[in-house]
Point group: C2
Chain length 740, copies 2
C-alpha cells in the first residue's frame, strides 16, 4: 500500500533505532494505536479459559486449546492454520520410590488437593509427577546426596573419597537444568537419579507456602523433561528434520538423548525421610538445604528402590500458525511465538505469556481493520509440546528450515510472564533495537519507561565502578540466550536473529510445573491485575510492528561486535584462570598443602597432578573481532547516510541483511552436537539452560580439552569474518546507491 509507505517518511531518521514506520493518515501512529489495545480484562478471561483444565501434550484439553486459539486467529482476520507433527512422548505407567534400609518408607509421589483451589481437584486429568524421557528401570542401591548434581559437585565427592558408582543419587533442583543431573550422574556410574525440590530454593525458606503464599509446599513436585536437550531439541526420533507423519524416524534404540538411568522427581516431603536416613560425612556447607536435618552425603545406610516405567507412545503436536502477509516485503518474515501446552494447568507456564501473544494478535487484527497493512509478513505461532523438549517450535522450524532461512528476519519469543522488570535476551545485533522499543513502553507500577526502570535497577545492583557507564549508557546490555524455551531452534539451529522477552523479578513462586500453577495461584500471587500482561503484549507487539514496518531492517552490528569483543576477553581470561589453577594446584600438591590441612578424622583424597596446557593462539579471534568492528562501523555509517537520502531501500538490501545472523552458523555445528550451529550462543552442555557464549571454545577450556581449542578458535574467527564480509558488501551497496 504505497500511500502508507509515503506517510512513513514523515518520521525523521535520527537514529537507526527509530526505524521507518508505516503511519496512519492522521492521528496516533499504528504503533501507538496498537499499544492502547491490549486489555487486562481479556487477558484474565483468556487465562481462565486456557488454564481451566490440564493441557499437556496429548491431552484432550491441549488440542481443544489449540483449536480455540486457531478459531481466535481466524476471527481476528489472520490467515491461520493448524500444523501437526507426530512425536514420541513417554507418560508414566509405574513410579516407585521406596526406602528399604535402615527403615521403610514409601514416597507418596502425589500432590494433594488444596481446598480453596478448585483446579487442584482435577486429578483424573493431571499428568502424574515424573521426569519425561527417563528410561525405564528398576534399581535398588545405596543412596548418595550429590547437591545439585553438576560436575563440580562430583569433583567435591572425589575429594571426599566418595563414588556414586552403583548408587542411586539424590540431587536437589537448581544450579543447572534438571536434565543435566541424571546425565552427569550416569557419567559417574550412578544407576538411578532422584531430583527433589529443597525448601531452601523452592519452599518455606523463600516465603509463605501455598495457599497462604506463593511458595512450594511439602508435597508439591516439579515435573519436567530430562531429555538431553543440549544435544538437540525437538522430537527425539527426528533430529534435524520435521516430525511429519511420513518422516524417517530413528528406532528408539538409536536415540542418544534419553537418560541413561531411571529418574524421578520428589517433593521435599518425600525426600526428607531419604535424606534423614543418609550417613557418611556431613555435606559441605554450600550443599545444605533448608530441611530441619543434618545433610549427610552417604553412601548408605539409606538403601533405595526406584522403579520407573513409561508408556512410550506417539502423540500429535498441535501448532497454531497465523499470518498477516507483508504488503511490501512479503518474503521477509517477523515471527513471534509462545507455547500453549503445560505440564498441568500451567496458568503461569505458559499461559501468562500465551495470553499476551493472543492480545497482540487481536490488536493487530484490529489495526488491519483500521487500514494497517504490515510492510513485512508477520507470523504468529502458538507452540505445542514445549515442555517435553521444545517439540512444537523445533519441529516446525526443522520442517520449514529452508523457507525460514530464506525469509526470517526476526523471531520473538516469550514464555511465562510476571510482575517487575523487562527481561530481554537475544542476538546482540538486536540490542539497540530492543532498547529503542523499551524506551517507548510504560511500566505500570512506576509510570517510568520500562527501559528507565531497568537502567535504574542496573545502576542500583552493579558495582560502583560500572555505574558511570550505566548512567551514560545509550543501550542497556541484553543477555545472551541459552535454552529452555522456543527460541532455541530459530537461533541456534537456523541462525535467525532472536529475542526472548518477559517481565519478572517481583514476587516469587514455587508453583513451577506443579498442579498448583493454575488460575487461583496466578490471580492471587502474580500479575493479579494483568497489567504486566498488557505491558508484555505492548512490548512484543511494538517490536513486531516496528521491525515489520522498518524501511531498513534495524540490526546494529556495533553492539554485536562490542559484545563479541567482551566474550573474547572473557575467553582469554578463562584460559588464564584455568591454566593458573592447574599450575597452582600442581604446586600445592608438590608442597604438600592438601595432606597438611586435611583433618585426619575426615576422609580426604587430594587431587592429582595435571598437565599444564601450552599457551594458545587467540589472535585469530581478536583479529576477526577487529574486522567485524570496522565493518560494523562502516555499515552503520552507510546505512545512516542512505536513510538520510529518503530513497527507498532496495528489497535486495533488506533480503541480504536478514541473512546476517546466518553468517554466524557453522555447518559442522558444535563438537559432539552438530544440531547446534551458532558459533556465538549455545546452551551449556553441562548447564542445560544456562548460555555458553563462543561455546566451542569456552566449553573446551572449561573441560580442560586443550587439543582442539585452536581449531575452534579459527572456526569462530571464520564466522565473524564471514559476517564482517557480508555487511561490508551491504555497506558498499548502500554507499553506491542512491547517487549522492
Amino acid at each position: 500500500m504505497p500511500s502508507l509507505r509515503c506517510a512513513s517518511w514523515s518520521v525523521p531518521f535520527l537514529l537507526l533505532s527509530v526505524p521507518v514506520l508505516s503511519q496512519p493518515v492522521k492521528g496516533p501512529s499504528w504503533e501507538e494505536q496498537f499499544r492502547s489495545l491490549p486489555d487486562p480484562a481479556l487477558l484474565r478471561e483468556d487465562m481462565r479459559h486456557l488454564s481451566a483444565r490440564p493441557h499437556h501434550l496429548g491431552s484432550p484439553y491441549d488440542r481443544e486449546n489449540a483449536e480455540w486459539i486457531l478459531a481466535r486467529f481466524k476471527e481476528w482476520g489472520w490467515d491461520a492454520r493448524m500444523e501437526t507433527f507426530e512425536v514420541l512422548f513417554p507418560t508414566p505407567k509405574e513410579r516407585v520410590v521406596e526406602l528399604l534400609e535402615p527403615r521403610k518408607f514409601t514416597a507418596k509421589l502425589r500432590e494433594p488437593v488444596v481446598a480453596v483451589d478448585s483446579s487442584s481437584m482435577q486429578q483424573d486429568e493431571q499428568l502424574p509427577t515424573y521426569n519425561a524421557f527417563s528410561i525405564d528401570g528398576d534399581v535398588t542401591a545405596p543412596l548418595v546426596y550429590v547437591n545439585f548434581g553438576v560436575p563440580d559437585d562430583y569433583e567435591q565427592l572425589d575429594r571426599m573419597g566418595i563414588s556414586v558408582k552403583g548408587a542411586i543419587v539424590i540431587a536437589r533442583y537448581g544450579a543447572s537444568w534438571r536434565g543435566i543431573k541424571p546425565k552427569v550422574a550416569a557419567e559417574h556410574g550412578a544407576v538411578g537419579c532422584l531430583i527433589y525440590s529443597d525448601p531452601r530454593g523452592d519452599g518455606y525458606f523463600q516465603g509463605d507456602t501455598f495457599p497462604l503464599g506463593p511458595w512450594r509446599t511439602e508435597d508439591a513436585v516439579q515435573r519436567g523433561s530430562v531429555v538431553d536437550m543440549p544435544t538437540y531439541s525437538g522430537d527425539v526420533l527426528t533430529p534435524g528434520i520435521g516430525a511429519t507423519r511420513g518422516a524417517r524416524r530413528l528406532p528408539l534404540s538409536e536415540v542418544k538423548v534419553l537418560t541413561k538411568i531411571p529418574v524421578l522427581p520428589l517433593s521435599f516431603g518425600d525426600a526428607r525421610p531419604l535424606l534423614e536416613a543418609l550417613g557418611g560425612p556431613v555435606a559441605p556447607e554450600g550443599w545444605r538445604g533448608a530441611l530441619p536435618l543434618t545433610y549427610h552425603v552417604g553412601p548408605g545406610p539409606a538403601k533405595v528402590h526406584l522403579r520407573v516405567r513409561s508408556n512410550w507412545d506417539m502423540k500429535t503436536i498441535y501448532d497454531v500458525v497465523g499470518m498477516l502477509k507483508g504488503s511490501t516485503f512479503p518474503d521477509q518474515w517477523i515471527i513471534r511465538g509462545n507455547h500453549h501446552d503445560a505440564w498441568v494447568n500451567g496458568a503461569e507456564d505458559p499461559i501468562s505469556g500465551q495470553i499476551c501473544l493472543l492480545e497482540e494478535a487481536r490488536a493487530m487484527g484490529t489495526l488491519v481493520k483500521r487500514g494497517w497493512s504490515p510492510r513485512r509478513t508477520i507470523v504468529y505461532c502458538a507452540w505445542d509440546g514445549e515442555e517435553e523438549g521444545l517439540f512444537g517450535s523445533t519441529e516446525w522450524a526443522e520442517a520449514h528450515a529452508d523457507e525460514l532461512q530464506a525469509k526470517a528476519a526476526l523471531y520473538i519469543n516469550s514464555d511465562s510472564n510476571g510482575r517487575g522488570f523487562l527481561g530481554a535476551g537475544g542476538s546482540h545485533s538486536l540490542e539497540k533495537f530492543i532498547n529503542s522499543v523499551a524506551r517507548d513502553i510504560e511500566d505500570p507500577e512506576t509510570r517510568l519507561s520500562v527501559w528507565k526502570r531497568s537502567q535504574l535497577r542496573q545502576i542500583s545492583t552493579s558495582a560502583l565502578a560500572d555505574r558511570p557507564r550505566l548512567r551514560a549508557a545509550q543501550d542497556l546490555p541484553i543477555g545472551a540466550l541459552g535454552s529452555g524455551s522456543d527460541y532455541t531452534a530459530f537461533l541456534d539451529h537456523l541462525g535467525i536473529a532472536s529475542l526472548n522477552l518477559g517481565y519478572g523479578g517481583e514476587g516469587g513462586g514455587g508453583e513451577y510445573h506443579s498442579i498448583y500453577d493454575d488460575f487461583y495461584w496466578y490471580t492471587h500471587f502474580s500479575d493479579t491485575a494483568f497489567v504486566y500482561g498488557r505491558v508484555l503484549a505492548q512490548t512484543a507487539g511494538t517490536a513486531v510492528i516496528r521491525f515489520a514496518d522498518a524501511e531498513l531492517l534495524p540490526y546494529d552490528f556495533n553492539n554485536l561486535s562490542e559484545t563479541v569483543r567482551k566474550y573474547a576477553e572473557e575467553i582469554k581470561q578463562l584460559f588464564k584462570k584455568e591454566r593458573d589453577e592447574i599450575v597452582e594446584q600442581n604446586a600445592q600438591i608438590q608442597e604438600g598443602v592438601f595432606q597438611a590441612i586435611a583433618d585426619p578424622r575426615e576422609k580426604f583424597v587430594p587431587p592429582s597432578m595435571e598437565g599444564v596446557p601450552p599457551y594458545l593462539n587467540f589472535a585469530p579471534l581478536d583479529n576477526a573481532v577487529d574486522t567485524l568492528s570496522h565493518s560494523a562501523t562502516r555499515y552503520q555509517k552507510a546505512a545512516a547516510k542512505y536513510l538520510e537520502s529518503r530513497q527507498p531501500v532496495p528489497v535486495r538490501v533488506n533480503q541480504e541483511l536478514l541473512q546476517s545472523e546466518r553468517m554466524l552458523l557453522s555447518q559442522e555445528g558444535l563438537p559432539q552436537r552438530p544440531w547446534f550451529k551458532h558459533l556465538i550462543y549455545a546452551p551449556g552442555f553441562y548447564t542445560g539452560y544456562g548460555v555458553k557464549t563462543i561455546p566451542a571454545v569456552r566449553e573446551a577450556l572449561e573441560q580442560w580439552q586443550w587439543k582442539d581449542c585452536e581449531t575452534q578458535i579459527q572456526r569462530v574467527a571464520a564466522g565473524l569474518e564471514r559476517l564482517a564480509g557480508h555487511i561490508q558488501t551491504i555497506a558498499s551497496e548502500l554507499e553506491q546507491s542512491p547517487k549522492q
Copy 2:
C-alpha cells in the same frame, strides 16, 4: 647464674627471633626439655577433676578448683598465693518468656538431662539459662525479629519501615558479641531482648547434634554476660580500680554498663514457636536461619511477655597467682593466664586451656628441680570470673596496675583449646617472636611444624595474588586482638604487649556455655587424645621460657610498623568507601532509583540525603608510620649488631624496651570509653569481641562522625611518634655501648 648465661652464647645469633637462651650444662636445652614434659594423660585427669561439677563464679566448686590449683602450684615449687576480689554478680531469681498472642506458649528455659552424659544430671548446681547483667524487668510487647541485632540490621529495618520502638526484639546469636544485641536494641527503643541459638550457625545445620555429634540440640542454651564490655571490663562497680574489699564502689544506680532492657537467651526449641507466630514481611534472605519455617520480621501478631529478676549479690573472685622469680632480671615479668571459672562444667571453656597452663607450670617446676632458673620472673595466673566480664584478670590488673606497668614485658593468654591449627593473635611487636616459637612446635596430626601447617593453610585459603607473598613469608601475619578473653586489661588498659594462643579449626561444636560443655562432650568430640592440649602447653610454655631467658627482649618493631601501615591504608580506603557511598546514595535518591525499583506490594522507605564529608587530612598518620618504620629499622640493626658483640645487654635497655607497648596508650582513652587506652587495638563498640584497629579513627568513620576524625588521627600519630622516639633512644644506647 652466670654459667648458664655463658652457655647461652653457644647459640648463634642469626636472627633476633632466635633469642639468647639459658642452657643446661649439657644435653637438650631447657626449652627442649620443657617440651618433652606435658603429658596427655595428666591433661585428661586434670580436665576430669576441674570439670567434674559446675564451677561458676561464687559456686562452691569454683572455690574448690581455685584451692586445688593453688595446692598444685605449691606442690610444683611455685611461690603461689590466692588473691581475692569482691564483685557484683547477678544470678537468676525469676525468668519468664511467654507467647501470649496469637496463641499461648511458655518457654521451657531448661536444658534436659542426656542419659549418656552423667554431668548433665547435676541440675542442683547448674546456673539456670540466663544473660548476666540484664537489668530486672517485666515487659509485654509485640515481637520483632532483628536478625543478628547489629546496627546494619536496624538500617535494613528502617528501609522496610519497621520500628522496634516499644517492641521486644528477638535476635539470633552470631555476627557480634551477645552484649551488643540488647545495647543496639535499646538504642532503637526496644523494651526487651531475646537472643536465641539458630540451628543455622549452631545446631543441626552444622552437623549431628549431641550426643550423636558435637552440635547444639533443640533445648540447649547459650548462657553469657551482656554487660557493656566495650565500655570497660571487670567488676561493674569498680571501673579502673581493683575490687578489693575496701575499694570505693559505684552505687548500682550509677553503673552505666548494665543493659538498658531485660534480656534472656533461648534455645531454638523455645524460639521456634515465637518465630512461627511472627507476621509482617518475609525476612531478607541473609536473615533466615535453618528452622523449618518462613522467617518473618513482624511486628506481631506475636505478643510476648518477658520477665527477668536477678539476685544482685556480691561474690568473691578467687585468682590463683604463682611466681618463679627471675635470677637476672627479677623486675621484668612474663605473665601467663587462663581462667578457671565456667558457666557450668566448662570442660572446653575454659578447662581445655586451663589444663595446659597447669601442665606448663608443672613442667617448669620440674625444670627448676633440674637446675633451671629463669632469667626473668614468670607469673602464672588462673583467673576466676572471666565469664561475667573478665573480672578476675581485670581486677588483678587494675589492683597491680603500677607494678605491672613498670615490670610486665609480656602477657600470654589462652582460653578454650581444640584440634587443628595454631591461632595466634596479639601485639604486632611480638609477631616475629611467636612465628619463631611456632616453627619449633610439632603438629601432632601431620608431624609438620605448626608454623608450616598454618602457612600451608593460608596458602590454600588465600587469594591467588597473595600466595607468592605467603610462600616467601618469613613471618605469618598474626591477628589483632579485640576482646572476649583475659588479655583485655593487660593489652588495652595497661599497654602490655600480649599474645592470645589456642588451637582449633577442626571438628566443631555447639556445646558453648551450655550444660553439655563437659568431660563427656570434650572426650568424645574434641581433642579426645589431649594431643592438642600437649601442643598448646608446648607452644605457650616455649614462648614463656624463650622470652624469660632472652638476652634482649625479642620485640620486633618492623613487623609492627608494617602492620600499622596496612591499617592506615585500610583507614584511608574506608574513608573513601564511606564517602563514595554517601555520594552515590545521594545520587540515587536524586535520580529516583529507590522509588523506581521498589515493589509496590512491599513497604519500602528510601534513605534520606546525607551530608558529604570534606576530605580529611591523613598525612599525620602516614608521616608517623614512616617515622616509626625508620626507627624500627634503626633499632633492629643496632640490636643485631649489639648481640653480635656478645656483651651482656644492660638491664636498663631491657627495662626501657618492655615499656615500648605503653607508648601506644593514650591517657584520655578512646572516645566515650576512657578505660580503653590502646591507640591501635580495641574491641569494637558495636562488635564487642571483634577488633577495631586504630579504633578511634575507624569507628568515627564507620559511624559517619567526621567532626573529631582529624583530632583522633593526630592523637594516633602522636602515639606512633612517641613509640618511634622511644625506640630511637634505645637504638642510640645500643649503638653507643659496647664500644666496637
